[in-house]
């Protein structure tokens, strides 16, 4: 038998001025199952809460309805009070008679009628409430960081420095990501390698960080606090534990003309190689597709040159299973292929390059040792044209969005060029200069005022070769005139786009992505570093184009999320989750398909001999977020949502 207590709050005058609380209290007092119906000026006050607790104890109440402000205000307050009086907190519900009644209606009579309906309906619901316990999920305190660029390194270091274990997985042979490729960084012009390499080394040597380079994620199962991750450790063909990184093999390797990925094709590398001199770990890998031995079965010069016998051509990919509590995805971006713009001659003329290639030219550790030289003949260019938005903000050929960093790095390129090639002329075609950020606008002004970067507002229509010069035709929209510039080199400020396999990867680990392949955050404004899957966080340019400060900030933010999760041994969650009745479930998998969180699994029901007799849906309480979408799909009414059960809602509707 239900004994429901109804507590009608005046909220000072906020409710009582419109709603006749005495009539409301007496109407509910007569309602079947209501044991006590009282009104008070402020139930949220200390004496108010005490009176609720007292009523619970005195009347042995089985449920409580507080008719007051929105549940979004004080549901937690009153549920806590109920718990303190020994009543399960989920036996307490709020009837909203302030925001959705007294404040919005002029007619007191009708407002009171409405309030009676609202409270009565809620009393009917509470009669069917079940006692619920917060869900406790154990947490494996070990984080997985996917991607060893600056975002991944930062997240890994922050988590590790707080004393938690981290596994840092990078698919390339070395940590570093795109930041390691850069020359100087805006807006301070400090050398990228100088600030990056110490962090790489710190990550590699950190006692709490396990570094897995040349490794990829095969599969992710499980849920927040309890992920099972399978990692593929790609065969390096070099024994990691014995190699000292002496580099003898690299020096001796006869295949020396392979385009270096790290140098964006401008530099060359050998078949056994480290991507760059400061690689971490400094252990080479053999590029199977370009190795003479793998191609022809003969060579093995590296084997002979190795003083420690580290080379092993028989090495196979290995797999490792990891138990993980939280995942930070920091898989970064790629630059768009500018061959899309045939009219700019990328891929056709050697001296039309993209921004990242210019970085390699300007980098002191790059193929030209930091000298700005044209790729075609090694000459110093006298005039360089930079084309911004080569791919960005171009719905017809490129991408719709702004790549965010190109305005800044183009200004930086013009500066570096001015510093390295005295008297060199730079011309920059731009649509807008987007320099929002600390010190950013000052930086672009400096490029214009001190380093004589010549900005032209307009688009380039065509680039062609004429008498050894790259002729650039565009329009200066401020003068309203077409312009033609004879240049020695053209640099395209290429769009940042999602990694080529971003969508596949998102499916593997179970997170959402947008139309471009950037990973979706749970909420753009309020949960920008969480993915929609609990326990998986995002950092850096895998979520959207970002510069280094933003990537680092997001990485630290996701580390804070991971640490908050790891601060407890067990994870406590609201028990509003779906529950399936396995005896009536028909196993049609409508719920499995509809669930936004992949929280519903297919479970085998076996007989004593172990034979599968039927398969039913089974809700994983760790993954379920409690939306209830599955419930509506279930034709047999087998699946239900705790806290908003079919019975409760039926009673609410029928109580109106």
């Amino acid at each position: 038998m239900s004994k429901i207590g109804v507590f009608i709050c005046h909220c000072g005058e906020n409710i009582a001025a419109k709603v006749d609380c005495t009539r409301l209290a007496s109407a509910l007092g007569d309602h079947p199952g209501v044991a006590s119906s009282i009104e008070y000026k402020y139930f949220c006050s200390d004496p108010g809460q005490e009176s609720v607790k007292k009523a619970i104890r005195d009347n042995n109440l089985t449920g409580v309805v507080v008719a007051a402000c929105s549940p979004r205000m004080h549901e937690a307050t009153f549920r806590k009070a109920c718990a303190e009086a020994g009543l399960n907190p989920y036996m307490c519900e709020i009837a909203n008679i302030r925001e959705q009644c007294s404040w919005v209606h002029n007619d007191g009579e009708k407002a009171t009628d409405k309030a009676i309906d609202i409270v009565r309906s809620m009393v009917e619901k509470v009669k069917r409430n079940n006692t619920l316990q917060p869900i406790e999920v154990p947490v494996t305190r070990r984080a997985l960081v996917i991607g060893g660029g600056i975002a991944g390194i930062q997240a890994a270091l922050d988590i590790a420095n707080a004393g938690q274990e981290v596994v840092l997985v990078e698919r390339e042979p070395s940590l570093g990501g795109h930041m390691a490729q850069l020359s100087e960084t805006f807006p301070t012009l400090d050398c990228s390698q100088c600030i990056m390499t110490p962090r790489m080394v710190e990550a590699a040597q950190h006692p709490k960080i396990r570094l897995l380079t040349y490794a990829e994620i095969e599969s992710v199962d499980g849920y927040i606090g309890n992920f099972q991750v399978k990692v593929r450790l790609k065969a390096r063909y070099v024994n990691k534990s014995t190699c000292t990184g002496c580099g003898e093999c690299i020096t001796k390797c006869p295949s020396k003309k392979i385009a270096s990925e790290f140098d964006c094709g401008i530099g060359r590398r050998t078949a056994i190689y480290t991507p760059f001199a400061q690689a971490v770990p400094n252990i080479p890998v053999i590029d199977k597709n370009n190795c003479t031995y793998f191609k022809n079965g003969k060579c093995k010069i590296c084997v002979k040159s190795c003083p420690l016998d580290c080379i092993d051509f028989e090495m196979q990919d290995e797999f490792e299973d990891l138990e993980i509590g939280a995942i930070v995805v920091a898989t970064g971006f790629q630059v768009q292929n500018n061959a899309l713009y045939g009219e700019y001659g990328y891929g056709k003329y050697q001296d039309v390059i993209n921004g990242l290639q210019f970085e390699r030219l300007a980098s002191a550790s790059g193929p030209t040792a930091g000298k700005i030289q044209r790729p075609s003949d090694g000459k110093e260019p006298e005039t360089v044209v930079f084309i911004q938005c080569a791919g960005s903000r171009d719905p017809s050929k490129g991408v719709k969005y702004c790549s965010k960093i190109c305005c800044m790095y183009t200004a930086k390129h013009a500066m570096l060029y001015a510093h390295k090639v005295h008297g060199g002329k730079s011309r920059i075609f731009y649509m807008d200069i987007r320099a929002a950020g600390k010190g950013y606008d000052e930086f672009t002004r400096r490029a214009i005022e001190e380093d004589e970067a010549g900005y032209l507002r307009g688009r380039v229509s065509k680039v062609w070769l004429e008498n050894g010069k790259l002729m650039v035709r565009g329009v200066d929209t401020l003068l309203g005139k077409p312009v033609e510039i004879a240049a020695d080199m053209v640099v395209l400020a290429t769009a940042m786009i999602a990694q080529p396999d971003a969508k596949e990867f998102a499916k593997t680990i179970g997170i959402g992505y947008d139309e471009y392949g950037f990973f979706n955050e749970a909420h753009l404004k309020l949960r920008p570093v969480e993915s929609s899957t609990a326990g998986i966080y995002l950092a850096g340019a895998c979520q959207s184009p970002k510069d280094i400060p933003d990537s680092v900030a997001q990485a630290s933010a996701s580390a804070a999320k991971v640490l908050a999760l790891f601060s407890k041994e067990k994870l406590e969650r609201e028990p509003v989750i779906a529950v399936n009745n396995e005896s009536t479930c028909a196993g049609c998998w409508g719920c499995v398909l509809a669930c936004p969180y992949d929280a519903i699994e297919k479970k085998d029901i076996k007989d004593r001999s172990g034979k599968v007799i039927k398969r039913v849906a089974s809700v994983n309480p760790g993954l379920c977020q409690g939306c209830g979408t599955c419930v509506t799909f279930c034709r047999s009414n087998s699946i239900d949502l705790a806290g908003f059960t079919e019975k409760q809602i039926f009673a609410e509707v029928m109580g109106l």
Partner: protein
Amino acid sequence: MSIEQQYRTRAKELLSAGEVKMVIGYGAGTTAERRRPIFITSPDETERLVLDSACIANLSGYLVTEGLLSDEKRVAVFLRPEGIRALNVLAAEAQLDPLQVVIIGFDLPKGELKSLQGSSVDDFTDLLGALKESTPDVDGRELLEKIEKMSPEERFAFWQEEFSKCIKCYACRQACPMCYCRRCIVDSNQPQWVNTSSHTLGNFEWNIVRAFHLSGRCVECGNCDRACPVNIPLRLINRKMAQEVLDSFNHFAGTSKTQEPVLASFKKDDSETFIL
């Protein structure tokens, strides 16, 4: 050799070779115009099989009889194109493994018996695809058009009249291959969403709920319509809903064994003309 005789022979071969453990087909009924389902497990019995223009029932529902396919042995079944579509829906909803079903396909265009080539659901993909593009030949099209032209009040009155005849015998549900739930929503009483009494309100709710549960799944085989002892034109509601999902979501139930259920999937650019 007549199609009937060919198919008897085929059934006999399938059973003799042990390729299937059972053939589900049609046998003679209590009157000359009626056929009843028969379940043959011995090659000697295949002469009992009948195949003619009276074989209109969709037999696919018998495939989901509890335990029939759990031994992983195969079963052959006589199916018209609607039945093959139903088989696809059942496969897509994980109620059976289509590899366990050998289809003995036939059709009855304008009452004329015709054999269909193929034995597995995938063999009929083209046929079913063509069916999606064709205009369905519906019994009672005129009545349907008449209802569509009515005012809401007239429609309500029409269905109130029809549903008032319903005796809640659930023959429609029993005859329907899509009604495979272990527990029907109407038999769920915590809460009792659907009034079980056969008063008009309960009848209204029952028939609306059943039509909704069939939306995007019904293959319009007509089993429910023929089973109804009080002749409620159930086919009209099902036809209307099939047209609705085809027009709105380009969905035609049962075109493949892996088809996504239309109401458990969505497109971000689905029509939303009706939303304020």
